[in-house]
Point group: C2
Chain length 700, copies 2
């Protein structure tokens, strides 16, 4: 069901409306009235005749019609009965402001479940409980106790923290930042972030979706929807509870488990969500996304009336990995013709301290027309002659006339630029209090553009022997084996098109030497025991054996030494395996996140990478492009392409391995965790080998 | 000479005082008067009788006494003659506001040199030219055209950009941030950052030194002084022109070369300077340093009236590497006794949305007394019942009574918290607009505390054969050799106590085999040519040779192949060298920065580190502690201590090698650049070997 009734109701009832100033039941009623809500408002309170001049009803029933939207502010224990009243008269949208539900413990949870039950039974959509309310600026709905109706604008906001929303409202008003809608989602008993993102996505007045989340209700659905919506409009999220300390606070706060940081990183990347580290950053970004066109490329030109801030902007552009625009010859010539001799006609264009609006206007027009420039940042410091107001007007006019390239402004100062800043804001020019903040915003816009232009997601399906894997997994699960043995793990890999080293198990030294002879030297010996997971830790791996004597010695030494280290381990023999060709070792992995599903991992092999924790994650199933992205996003990627004249390895074959693994773990949700380590890859055209694997399974 | 006359003059003359509003000569005079400057003000202007009621003088001479401070605002070409007037009557302090000097090119530079010449001859100290002026708040000196006298406070500010200073003044006034002094240093023809940092360091009213710099005049002197001053009070600097793009803008702006980013990183670390990435961050830090005590440790407790911001703060504390305080049992018990049942009595302490000032006060007192807590962050969001004003008063009172632990506040919002924020600011409680900003500040304070507590810098002096090195370097310089050959490089290393591999040069294959036999196998062969710097690139290194045959083959192959690759190289033979024991390879290096001297470099060996650019720099001479710090600050440091049961290497012997290198490059400024690569280091107690070295020298 659509959420339209929340944002565009013809009538609103407030159950628990109060005459007492300061009480929530009064404040919400007053806010609705003051907002100029054009529909009917029904205060419901058996103890009052009128409130603020409006006729008061003893109960919902007595209104005689079903209000489009009902706001409930009575104490928690009476909420279920109010919900029943709503159901009876056919109400379809309810906001429960009242706190005292899931967040206070088992007792509250039971009450909340009662409310949900009634809602589901009668098809009522519920926002809350334990929330601040709902705001829609165009339709003048201020069913919220956060203060005055905010300025109209293009930002739709949802917040899992009511208190934070209140602070945001307060800040936004003072900064002139406008909203289309704001929703405090409280305990999310029914309407959750997913419903709201969908609804905001469909709302033509909402240009940017922004929000603060502590948890996500349905991981998989969230990713799918967010990816669709991001393609249409940017989603800017603050997500807290990410680190250990924060997550602990989150669980004591909302009673919901916060997802792991890695998983959130993956889904935000996949879904194109722009993550914001603070409210300020979110405001910084939202302003620009809401009012400016997206940049066509990464190149930024700066216009300034002072050298210092120009340098600061140039530094920031370089640090963010954007391009410091090289102005065209033509631009430089034009600028030089009209600007004073002392001006800098290269980027950053310095129009000098005595620049009035006309000089800014001229420079802006010329730079705007330069094909080498994608985004323009205008800096202004208040100097003796500076006219911030007229300069702001010039910028606003240019932006309106030529709305092709984004223009951002950074007027530094306070009182002396205040009026100018007001004009910028009203004119849709995002204004920043530091060059660095503006440049970070340009970076976020560029990243979003890059994400939007990503190749279409086509997940390649390889032809595999699915039945075989199914049999192995089923057999292990029936035997209550959570860890699949090395031999069967390899069979699984082979069924999915991986090449694994040849080899067999020997139980005597002579047999080992025999197998080695058949495989051809050199060979590897590995201890063979279901109880030993980390073989090398107990001396259970010996590589590069080149003769029968070496094989037999190694066999006997393992058999003698390992039982001393691991007396309880059942040792079934020793695996004699062919030695792989030389190449680089990489690691593949998969971890199943309870909320978001399979997280694929890639990393370079070897201990140094372990020290660096240099791995990348991505949500399965992955495309070829994403598989390559996983490689590129490790710091050690260059090692694979070859350094210092060393030949590179076959990148495509690594990407293919990741895609095959992705298919395997997607088709078998029983696989909870797995590693292919090492995956040895040689130069272009050679076949990589999956040397070792670990697979854990569970019934699903 | 002290700069006292600039900050505490008894009389001020303004040469170029004007009656015309908007003119600099008027604005400065007006600012001096409005500031309430208690001394005499002498406007100098031959065309006026009085300005703003003050008697006007036709020239300096006619005043009849030498004013303590003269401000010059007349056109550039007249400035030298005004300077001569100053010299004649015995003026000792002059601020030249006028622009049109060094910054406009050769002509301006000549004029500036004239001014400097007069100043030096007559012992006049000059601030500027091309600057905004000077402010001292207690003595009511506002010899600046930046607007009203700012609020009194503990921050001393110096800026190399006048425009930026104007913006800062405007912002600071609106945020209630107070200053002791502000100086626009302009072209730094005489008084520079060093003079000002010294002067601010001695000024008891200045608690924090802050500034914006684009270049540093005297690198070595700066480091020495800044390190001394940092020990007394924190120095917070914005330094721009750091990246390529920024540096280019800097040189076109101020005509001064910006130092390299690496060098600035080194000197800031060494001198304990706190680097700020933006004006906002600088304000954030300066506020806290100016008014709060330093924390005793890294542990932070949070008090909040809303869950969301509490989680955000907890996340930020973890991300910054601070400690999220674990409250003592006693604290938890006390909090639980008086706070409502729904409150969170663990960190972050949630006093709930309906908390009034008394509840905040109580929680603050209890948490403050907890020995596990070093710093307290108080968060407030404006909710229905919230009283920001009284809460602010409670925080201010607590801070004043128990000024032992730093308290920072983050009141989120705008209008609803405005009065509260004002009280916080007046009461010396730093206020932040996001939990993240507050936590970043706590981090900066902790880092400063850690820096202050660093061990005393004692540079160890090894007994070395200095004479020998001197001879080698002199010999090479006489022969115009910039690159010292491998054999002599090793002699230099040995003279400074490094162990190098044994070996000699062979000119025939038989000779090579002979040398190898004497050294003992295995050996290494290296091509021997003054023209080949990167031997392995041309196949000029062959390691692990174990027999006469292998040695002779390798010799002949080099002699046959290398001349084809490098036809112009003069090949003197092949070096036959003993092969070093196994161990980890690290790299030492030194680069001489033209401004700051020798920058020591340390990194792990191998290509992966090259890909990662994982190296650390430090300014020579280094102490043992600093040498170890160089190791620890690489990301790959753990590789040296041993991972996965692998044995670690002798860390102390690496640190010693770095100290020996530091002594070498300090004692021989002729060495412009050098590498020891690899420096092979084995387990504890073994002697590391400096396998190869490259030394470039120059006459100094």
């Amino acid at each position: 069901m659509s959420l339209d009734l929340f944002f565009n109701p013809r009538s609103v009832a407030i159950v628990g409306a109060s005459r007492e100033k300061g009480k929530v039941g009064y404040e919400i009623l007053k806010n609705m009235i003051d907002a100029g809500f054009p529909g009917d408002i029904y205060p419901v309170n058996p103890k009052a005749d009128t409130i603020e001049g409006l006729k008061c009803f003893p109960n919902l029933d007595s209104i005689g019609t079903a209000p489009d939207l009902v706001i409930i502010v009575i104490p928690a224990k009476f909420v279920p009965s109010a919900m029943e009243d709503c159901a009876k008269i056919g109400v379809k949208a309810v906001v429960v402001i009242t706190a005292g539900f899931k967040e206070i413990g088992p007792e509250g949870l039971a009450l909340e479940q009662k409310v949900s039950h009634i809602a589901r039974q009668s098809g009522i959509r519920v926002i809350g409980p334990n929330c601040l309310g709902v705001i829609e600026t165009t339709n003048k709905v201020n069913a919220c106790f956060g203060g005055d109706l905010p300025i109209k604008g293009g930002i739709g906001y949802l917040s899992q923290s009511g208190a934070l929303l209140a602070a945001i409202l307060d800040m936004a008003n003072s900064r002139g930042i406008g909203f289309s809608r704001l929703v405090s989602i409280g305990n999310k008993s029914d309407v959750d972030e997913l419903d709201l993102i969908r609804s905001f996505g469909e709302d033509p007045k909402t240009k940017v979706i922004a929000g603060y989340l502590e948890s996500i209700t349905d991981g998989t659905a969230f990713v799918t929807l967010a990816e669709q919506i991001s393609q249409k409009k940017p989603i800017l999220l603050m997500k807290s509870g990410s680190t250990g300390a924060g997550a602990k606070a989150a669980s004591s706060h909302t009673g919901s488990m916060a997802g792991s940081e890695t998983a959130y990183g993956c889904i935000f990347t996949r879904a194109g969500i722009i993550r914001c580290g603070s409210i300020k950053i979110q405001f910084d970004y939202a302003q620009a996304f809401a009012s400016q066109p997206l940049p066509k490329g990464p190149s930024v030109a700066v216009i300034t009336n002072a050298g210092g801030p120009g340098i600061m902007a140039a530094d920031a552009i370089e640090q963010q990995g954007l391009t410091f625009a090289k102005l065209s010859e033509d631009t430089i010539k034009k600028l030089a013709e009209k600007l004073p001799a002392a001006a800098n006609v290269h980027n950053p264009v310095d129009v000098l301290g005595d620049a009035l609006a006309d000089r800014y206007q001229f420079a802006l027009d010329v730079v705007m027309a330069d094909p080498n420039v994608d985004t323009i940042l205008v800096l202004l410091t208040p100097q003796a002659m500076t006219d911030a107001t007229e300069t702001a007007e010039a910028i606003v006019n240019t932006s309106k006339q030529k709305h092709e390239k984004p223009i951002l402004a950074c007027f530094l100062g306070a009182g002396k630029i205040r009026d100018g800043v007001k004009i910028l804001r009203q004119g849709g020019i995002p204004q920043y209090d530091s060059p660095e903040g503006a440049v970070a915003t340009i970076k976020a816009m560029s990243e979003y553009v890059r994400w939007k232009a990503r190749p279409k997601r086509v997940v390649k399906l390889f032809s595999v022997n699915r039945r075989k894997v199914e049999n192995i997994i089923e057999r292990n699960l029936r035997a209550s084996n959570r860890e699949i043995g090395e031999m069967e793990s390899k069979e699984i890999l082979e069924a999915y098109g991986f090449v694994t080293p040849k080899g067999s198990i020997a139980t005597t030294a002579e047999q080992a030497a025999n197998i080695a002879k058949q495989l051809g030297y050199p060979v590897v010996l590995k201890i063979w025991s279901p109880d030993i997971l980390h073989k090398s830790d107990v001396g259970g791996v010996k590589i590069g054996l080149t003769s029968a004597k070496e094989v037999m010695d190694a066999f006997d030494l393992m058999m003698y030494r390992i039982p001393k280290k691991k007396p309880d381990a059942e040792i079934l023999g020793v695996l004699v395996q062919e030695m792989c060709g030389s190449g680089k070792e990489v690691i593949f992995g998969m971890n199943r996140d309870p909320q978001f599903g399979s997280l694929m991992m890639f990393g370079m092999g070897g201990t140094m990478v372990e020290v660096l924790k240099d791995v990348s994650f991505y949500l399965a199933p992955i495309t070829q492009d994403e598989a390559k992205q996983m490689l590129v996003s490790t710091r050690t990627y260059k090692m694979l392409t070859g350094v210092r004249g060393e030949k590179g390895v076959d990148i495509d074959s690594i990407a293919e391995g990741l895609q095959r693994l992705s298919q395997l773990v997607t088709e078998f949700p029983q696989i909870q965790e797995m590693d292919i380590n090492p995956y040895v890859v040689g130069p272009q055209g050679t076949t990589p080998v999956a040397v070792d694997a670990r697979i854990s399974v569970e019934k699903v």
